[in-house]
Amino acid sequence: MSVNIDAGHVERDALLDYWLGDTDAAATEAIDAHLMHCDACGARLDEVIALARGVRAAFDHGEVQAIVSAPFVERLQAAGRQVHEYRVPHNGSVVCALAPGDDQLISRLDAPLAGVTRVDAEFAFSFAPDSVERMEDIPFDPAGAEVLFAPKMSFVRQLSTHDFVVRLLAVDAAGERELGRYTFHHQG
């Protein structure tokens, strides 16, 4: 990436790097100094901060589903969030429920990911047999052996007893193949 401080202003992506600690000491000090003079860049940084807080609030309120990581789950727990994890063996199933006080469910899906370049995930609910939701090109660690999924809690809280099937698919130029199939027997 080229210069981010130019023409008297700091570009938005440099402010994002600065906010998230991705600038080194010299760049951080330079941006500190610039922000002490420049309210236009300060307002831009405020936008970045507001979006960052908005993302956190959306997740905390259970309004976001996302593929996450094991360190992220540890940080949720360290922050005092009550996290209920369900580990599902490869092609296995699990009985699951939302316990009182649960802030977040995490599904840990054991999967053979070695050599895989792209993974899609399909979700099917027993109460909607004709409908399949697909998440394309989900992030995963090829060196790992699991996919961690954080469902949208506001949606999960509305559900009565049902079965929920997740299929992980390896996708490449030759087509797609099933990596694993996971069944959740949800007790509403």
Binding site: I5, L35, G42, G54, F72
Partner: protein
């Protein structure tokens, strides 16, 4: 004699620096990495901050309340941002803001700022030292706050807006899975590209590209929603 220069860091961010130490901001970096002057000393001396600082320094102790309030409104939000970035806590940032502004006004009143027109540099330096102190848990901040808290004007400050989390959630749902995952993992507790990349099997550079693209889409979507609501 210090000289300004530009440097490209490991993350590819070019930064202004002064050989010999210290920082001053009439400079910026051009795309080719050379230094350009953005304001001269005369401009800095004529800045609203400098004029207000001189007015406070020239008045009998505490006799320039209007200038103090205006200087506070100008500088306090900037100090608060510095605190948000370096302390990662809004309450601590508020404390820093109060502490630094109390100290700056105290020093101006007492004639202890050598060059009042350099008040912004003084405030930045005080921010840096105060953050170090705060991280060490020192108590001077509390003493200063007790002395000056009642005198500091708190109204009319520009504080970063809070967004409707449902609107943000709606916009997050419209992102690609990788973008959503990277933004959630980055912003939930302000993780660097390196940390997010390690946990998702991505390079830090790739995370930065995804993060930038995702944030841009998110911002446009949230802005469009806000305009629609208005």
């Amino acid at each position: 004699m210090v000289e300004p220069g530009c440097v490209v860091n490991g993350a590819g961010v070019t930064a202004i620096f002064l050989r010999g130490g210290g920082h001053r901001w009439p400079y910026a970096c051009r795309v080719d990495g050379t230094v350009t002057l953005t304001a001269n000393d005369a401009t800095l001396a004529d800045s609203p901050e400098a004029q207000l600082a001189r007015a406070i320094a020239a008045a009998p102790d505490g006799g320039a309340r209007d200038a103090e309030a205006r200087l506070y409104r100008l500088l306090a939000p900037r100090v608060r941002r510095y605190g948000q970035r370096h302390l990662r806590d809004d309450h601590a940032a508020d404390d820093l803001m109060q502490h630094v502004m109390a100290l700056a006004i105290e020093k101006l009143r007492a004639g202890q700022v050598d060059e009042p027109e350099r008040i912004v540099s003084f405030v930045l330096g005080t921010c840096r030292l105060s953050v170090i102190d705060l991280k060490r848990g020192q108590q001077r901040r509390d003493e200063l706050l007790q002395r000056h808290a009642d005198e500091l004007p708190l109204a009319d400050l520009h504080i970063a807006p809070r967004l409707d989390h449902l609107r943000v959630a709606h916009c997050l749902e419209r992102l690609a899975e990788r973008e959503r995952a990277v933004l959630v993992l980055s912003f939930y507790d302000d993780q660097s590209a390196d940390a997010v990349g390690r946990s998702l099997g991505l390079s830090a550079g790739n995370v930065r590209v995804i993060r930038h693209r995702g944030l841009d889409k998110l911002r446009r979507c949230v802005d469009a929603g806000a305009r629609k609501a208005a």
